[in-house]
């Protein structure tokens, strides 16, 4: 059984009032050295005496020095993490699960669709693609948030928007005065996205309702189901397919996912209770 490894918080970045990023470094240099992950995978982060929760890894897999996790404070464990300061230590087990299909994506246009804090797992994909720009086609980033204020990494999005061969489309269901982007849900963005469906691979993450709503649009634009990938969220206690909580039909989301190709999920996607 895998024991947590100690990691130190080397930096803490407050992204929004409730969202923060913890930059971690393993205490044991050998662990840090040998730690490898794929974007889309997650770690079980352990808060001393309080509990362990699944959190995606957002940093670039080539950053050998540190590991970033962006967390929204929503409940007891995340609220506890929010109080940590640089220098404090936590436990890390991982990485777990299956990440994004980055090999399959090479040579294709990459479409990243996220909603809510769903952006965290795909931010690592965006970084990944941007760092290896030549291997991929066009990069389209579509993001929906509830409130305009909730968009984290706003400058980042603005910077991405200025990059060549990169399109950024944002929508907020409730806009605000200084919101230059769309108001509404993710589907409104498709009219503007110039998708080359046949040559695109789509990576989605966020509330299931948002992801499901995007499906007809994607199909309309000619994206094959096999090229649509979704990152799923279910209750997870152990991270390695033993505790049973993350089951979605026959899948253990933690080890068979969290990233799935749409055909793997489609019979149960959107069925209440699965």
């Amino acid at each position: 059984m895998m024991l947590p490894q100690q990691a130190e918080i080397v930096a803490r970045i407050q992204e929004t009032p409730t969202i923060f990023t913890l930059r971690l470094r393993f205490i044991d240099p050998a662990v840090q050295e040998s730690y490898r992950f794929t974007p889309g995978q997650f770690n079980m982060l352990y808060l001393y005496g309080v509990g362990e929760i699944p959190i995606s890894i957002v940093s670039d897999p080539q950053d050998a020095q540190t590991l970033d996790h962006t967390i929204r404070s929503v409940g007891r464990v995340t609220a506890g993490f929010a109080q940590l300061k640089p220098g404090e230590r936590i436990g890390v087990r991982g990485p777990f699960g299956r990440g994004w299909p980055l090999v399959e994506a090479e040579g294709k246009d990459v479409v990243v669709i996220t909603g809510g804090l769903g952006c965290a797992p795909v931010v690592s994909v965006i970084h990944y693609v941007l760092r290896r720009r030549e291997r991929f086609g066009r990069l389209t980033i579509m993001q929906g948030v509830k409130h305009a204020e909730e968009l984290i990494w706003r400058e980042q999005y603005e910077a991405w928007a200025r990059l060549p061969n990169t399109q950024v489309l944002l929508a907020a269901s409730q806009g605000s005065a200084l919101w230059p982007w769309h108001v509404g849900h993710v589907p409104v963005l498709f009219d503007e996205a110039k998708l080359d469906g046949a040559n695109s691979i789509v990576m989605m993450c966020g509330p299931e309702g948002m992801m499901r709503a995007a499906l007809p649009e994607l199909r309309k634009h000619g994206v094959a189901d096999a090229n649509i990938w979704l990152s799923m969220e279910r209750n997870m206690q152990c991270g390695n397919g033993k505790c049973g909580h993350c089951q979605l039909g026959g899948h253990f989301v933690c080890k068979d996912g969290p990233v799935f190709a749409l055909p793997q999920l489609s019979p149960l996607l959107g069925v209440r209770g699965f």
Binding site: L47, G49, V50, G51, R76, V77, A79, G80, Q83
Partner: protein
């Protein structure tokens, strides 16, 4: 570093929940190392008005004076935690809320200068915001210590709301409902006690309050199948948590059936 400050207050109750602290043995001294106890009358600390980080409140609100006190305590406390059935739900004494009000009021107010009693015995949360509720009649030392430790870590403890049956099976008790047809309330009662009643071979009577996602009517129907009369079924649901909506509804339904019979 200043230690967090703790207060323990008593309202209408049997004192049983405070014993979760007084029965801690040497752990009580560990507690005193972790927090500064500023008010806990039964243990000799008397500073009811001092602001505290954590206030533990036992007992229900049943007098006008208690109404004032609870407002004061809320104003003085960062976290307010209710201990037990009385504080969390009105307790056994909330049975009087179900009684013929006219009768009771007459009985009570004939000498109003003697005793000021509110019409109902109510939970603390009916009057002020409560940060954490610990169910149980009485709460256990484990619950209280777990809650305090979590608050000291700056987080809330995980809520226990599964059904006693799960605890009963984890502690490997034999189901008394299945082997003997006892009208066990385990399937609608919250975990926390450790399934004590089945462990002594008897039916749970619900002293930890309602669990999540109740199906009281299926259970009541089962009791009826065992030959329990409607009024006996009603009494099972109307005991320590008669103030809890779903239990009260079920109880009243069977009371009515009993009357119609």
């Amino acid at each position: 570093m200043n230690k967090p400050r703790l207060a323990v207050h008593k309202f209408s109750s049997c004192d049983g929940c405070q014993l979760a602290l007084l029965n801690l043995g040497e752990t009580l001294f560990e507690l005193a190392r972790q927090v500064e106890i500023v008010h806990f009358a039964e243990a000799g600390y008397l500073a009811a008005a001092t602001p505290v980080d954590i206030a533990l409140v036992e007992g229900s609100v049943s007098t006008p004076h208690e109404l004032e006190r609870i407002a004061q305590i809320r104003a003085n406390s960062r976290y307010l935690v209710t201990l037990g059935a009385c504080a969390t739900s009105g307790g056994l004494q909330a049975l009087r809320n179900l009684a013929d009000k006219e009768q009771w009021v007459k009985g009570i107010y004939a000498q109003p200068h003697h005793i000021a009693l509110l019409k109902e015995s109510t939970a603390i949360a009916d009057h002020v915001k409560v940060d954490l509720e610990l169910w149980g009649c009485p709460v256990t030392s484990r619950q209280v210590v777990t809650a305090l430790r979590a608050l000291l870590f700056g987080v809330l403890p995980a809520e226990e709301r599964d059904k006693v049956c799960l605890e009963c099976k984890r502690s490997q008790q034999v189901c008394v409902l299945v082997t003997r047809g006892e009208p066990c309330l385990g399937p609608v009662t919250r975990t926390g006690c450790g399934a004590l009643c089945p462990s002594v071979g008897r039916d749970c009577y619900g002293c930890f309050g309602p669990a999540e996602t109740l199906n009281t009517s299926a259970l009541a129907q089962r009791f009826a199948g065992f030959g329990l009369l409607p009024e006996a079924i009603a009494r099972r649901f109307l005991l320590i948590y008669s103030h809890e909506e779903l239990l009260q509804q079920e109880g009243k339904r069977w009371l009515k059936q009993g009357e119609e019979r």
